[in-house]
């Protein structure tokens, strides 16, 4: 088993049943994503990209086919085991941020650690550290209603990173942000990638997808294009100072997987 393969998908089929009729959303998708890839999954609505994202994110199970996430056969798992996999290996970033409105930034970021069974002291210590890394050290005790969209998405990113996931899965992360803030968030993704993080970004917008290193296009439940971007993709030259130690997350998760093998 090649430990550098994060996502390994073979002939994935997903059929939704709506009453008597069956609606195929994925008609046989095969895909491999290696460590430290930055992949954009594109496609118009109804192309199956949301279905594929849900499957990659272990939120749903395929009708047919095989999916291994960091070597673990996800397609055989029940809801309980999938929750463990999501907690351990995946960091989610959503279009609508999905922060708990009554909880502080600190509590929001620490949430995944609650379900990992980590003690409060250590949860807060680590949430502090990750918030500092996304430049929100002075917003730790703010609640979502007191923060801007860009800050909210950075909290969401911090939350996604706190468990040192193998995969960062972002679903239209800039969909609710203005263009300047979008650029900031995308720069953050590029920076995380550069620091070793594996990222899958789902978007309908080619301009957003242009930030990724590899672009996969879906149409009618099939992959119609899978191309590497040329070297024209500029590296982030001077990353924001606050982001400098984020790479640690990627490293630690890799170490953890190697330990497990």
């Amino acid at each position: 088993m090649n430990t550098n393969v994060i996502i390994s998908i073979r002939d994935l089929v997903k059929v939704y049943r709506v009453g008597e009729t069956s609606v195929p959303a994925l008609r046989g998708v095969s895909l491999e994503v290696r460590r430290n890839e930055f992949v954009a999954i594109m496609g118009p609505s109804g192309s199956g990209k949301s279905t594929l994202m849900n499957l990659i994110g272990c939120l749903d199970r395929p009708t047919q086919g095989h999916y291994r996430l960091v070597g673990e056969p996800v397609e055989e798992m029940d809801a309980r085991q999938l929750a463990v996999i999501r907690n351990r290996h995946i960091g989610f970033v959503f279009q609508t941020f999905n922060l708990l409105p009554r909880a502080t930034a600190l509590k929001n970021v620490a949430l995944p650690l609650v379900y990992a069974g980590v003690g409060r002291e250590e949860r807060e210590e680590r949430a502090f550290a990750v918030l500092a890394q996304v430049g929100l050290a002075n917003r730790v005790y703010h609640r979502p209603s007191q923060l801007s969209g860009g800050q909210l998405q950075r909290i969401a990113i911090a939350r996604a990173l706190i468990n040192q996931p193998a995969l960062l899965l972002a679903d239209e992360p800039t969909g609710n942000l203005d263009s300047r803030t979008s650029a900031e968030i995308l720069a953050t993704f590029r920076y995380l990638h550069q620091r070793g993080m594996t990222i899958v970004l789902v978007t309908h917008d080619p301009a957003i997808a242009a930030n990724a290193q590899r672009r996969i296009e879906l149409h009618d439940g099939r992959i119609v294009r899978d191309e590497q971007a040329g070297s024209e993709l500029a590296l982030v030259q001077a990353p924001p100072a606050s982001l400098e130690s984020l790479a640690g997350a990627g490293v630690a998760s890799q170490a953890r997987e190697e330990e497990a093998l």
Partner: protein, 437 residues
């Protein structure tokens, strides 16, 4: 196994070696419950008014539970105190049967005790003393003062049977009793209200009860009151005198007969022999339906407590209905809460909450809601119990156990009625939940 050394990591990822953050291995602790508790308190607090209205049913139910238990304990304390004055060796013979299936409505209602029974009981082995009791009452008048009180016709043995101390004069003698002499022994309250004004020594004075005159031979020591009942508001006259007084309307029935055994060990033997002797004088075959009851002090206490059970049953019924209604209210508000927080549930599931974690979160919330309701109910329950015990003349005996029990009941209601909403939350599909508005 999450502990890792960083050496192989650095070897396999040389590009990102510098400036990495080295995380300590995760320390696992059972902290989900603490987190659930904090979250639940926050949820309850942020919907304060709704929480309060929701728990109203629980508050009423739990207050009723506390009131019932406190009232029952007050009643028990009252009857225990009242009958324990008789001493543990005194048996009580009452007319009527108590064997009619727990509901002893027959006891004391049929006039079946007579002076013959007293004679039959006096000569039994291990019997120290026997006294009939004829309950009566009326105005005791001295000079131009008078006082309405209870008057009991008893025998000379009654003094030791009921543990009365005589502070002045003495109880009448057996020979006085045999000839039915009109003598009277007065309680402190009666003395205070008839002789108190003039300060006359009552011994040897003549008082009037009804149309008859009585010579005061003794004054009783003060006993105080039990549960609001003044024990000293009483007067005793020889039962022989009372029987003669009322004999114009036929033989006078006795209200009860007290029988004192010579020791605690012989109480049950005396109880059996008294029953047999009474059966003989009443011409009842052994094992037949008796028209009298011989009870130990404990049986009397139990009997009295049983007659309070009806009121307690009513309150418990009220509590049960209120708790069910309250529980349904909790279930309803928890279902609303689950619907309102569908997205939150989806998010929690996405970041790794197990279905059981989601379920526990809402269970804890329902539990907290009900437990807070239970705590709020405590002062209301105690207040209600205070008013009720005063109404009935029972002592007010609040107990920590009753309060803890009531809060425990609230917690059980919370878990019981929170289970369905919590299970529903835990079964939500995270994808659908995340997409909901």
């Amino acid at each position: 196994m999450k502990s890792s050394t960083s050496a192989p990591v650095e070897a396999s990822a040389p590009a990102i070696r510098e400036r990495e953050t080295v995380w300590r291995p995760l320390r696992k602790q059972g902290t989900k419950l603490g987190s659930n508790l904090a979250g639940a308190l926050e949820a309850v607090w942020s919907n304060r008014l709704r929480s309060l209205l929701t728990t109203l049913g629980i508050i009423i139910g739990i207050a009723a539970v506390i009131a019932v238990i406190t009232l029952a304990q007050g009643a028990n304390a009252y009857f225990t105190a009242r009958f324990s004055q008789l001493g543990t060796t005194v048996l009580t013979v009452q007319p009527g049967s108590s064997s009619s299936g727990g509901a002893s409505n027959g006891a004391g209602s049929s006039p079946s005790l007579s002076a013959n029974d007293v004679q039959a009981l006096v000569n039994l082995p291990h019997v120290l003393g026997v006294s009939p009791v004829i309950l009566s009452g009326g105005v005791i008048a001295y000079s131009n003062t008078n006082w309405l009180t209870g008057v009991e016709g008893v025998s000379s043995a009654y003094q030791s049977l009921d543990n009365w101390q005589v502070v002045e004069g003495s109880w009448w003698s057996q020979s006085d009793e045999q000839i039915g002499l009109p003598v009277i022994v007065l309680g402190q309250t009666v003395v205070k209200n008839t002789f108190g004004l003039t300060g006359t020594n009552p011994i040897g004075q003549t008082v009037r009860w009804g149309r008859s005159l009585y010579r005061v031979v003794g004054v009783l020591a003060q006993r105080g009151s039990v549960g609001g009942n003044d024990q000293d508001d009483i007067a005793f006259v020889p039962y022989t005198n009372v029987m003669r007084l009322f004999s114009a309307k036929g033989p006078v029935p006795l209200d009860r007969i007290l029988v004192q055994a010579d020791s605690v060990n012989n109480v049950s033997q005396v109880q059996q022999e008294a029953t047999l002797a009474m059966e003989q004088t009443h011409h009842i075959a052994p094992g037949g339906q008796n028209d009298f009851t011989v009870s130990t002090p404990q049986q009397l206490i139990d009997q009295e407590n049983q007659s309070n059970a009806a009121l307690e049953d009513l309150l418990i019924g009220l509590a049960a209905i209120s708790l069910v209604v309250g529980g349904i209210g909790i279930m309803n508000i928890m279902l609303v809460s689950v619907t309102e927080r569908t997205r939150e549930i989806g998010l929690r599931a996405a970041v790794g909450a197990q279905p059981s974690d989601i379920r526990n979160q809402f269970l804890v919330e329902a539990l907290i809601l009900c437990t807070i309701g239970g705590c709020v109910a405590v002062p209301f329950g105690l207040g209600g119990a205070y008013l009720l015990t005063h109404q009935f003349g029972f002592p007010f005996v609040p107990s920590v156990l009753a309060i803890l029990l009531a809060i425990g009941v609230a917690a059980v209601v919370g878990i019981g009625f929170g289970l369905y909403p919590a299970a529903r939350a835990s079964r939500l599909d995270p994808i659908v939940a995340l997409r909901s508005e």
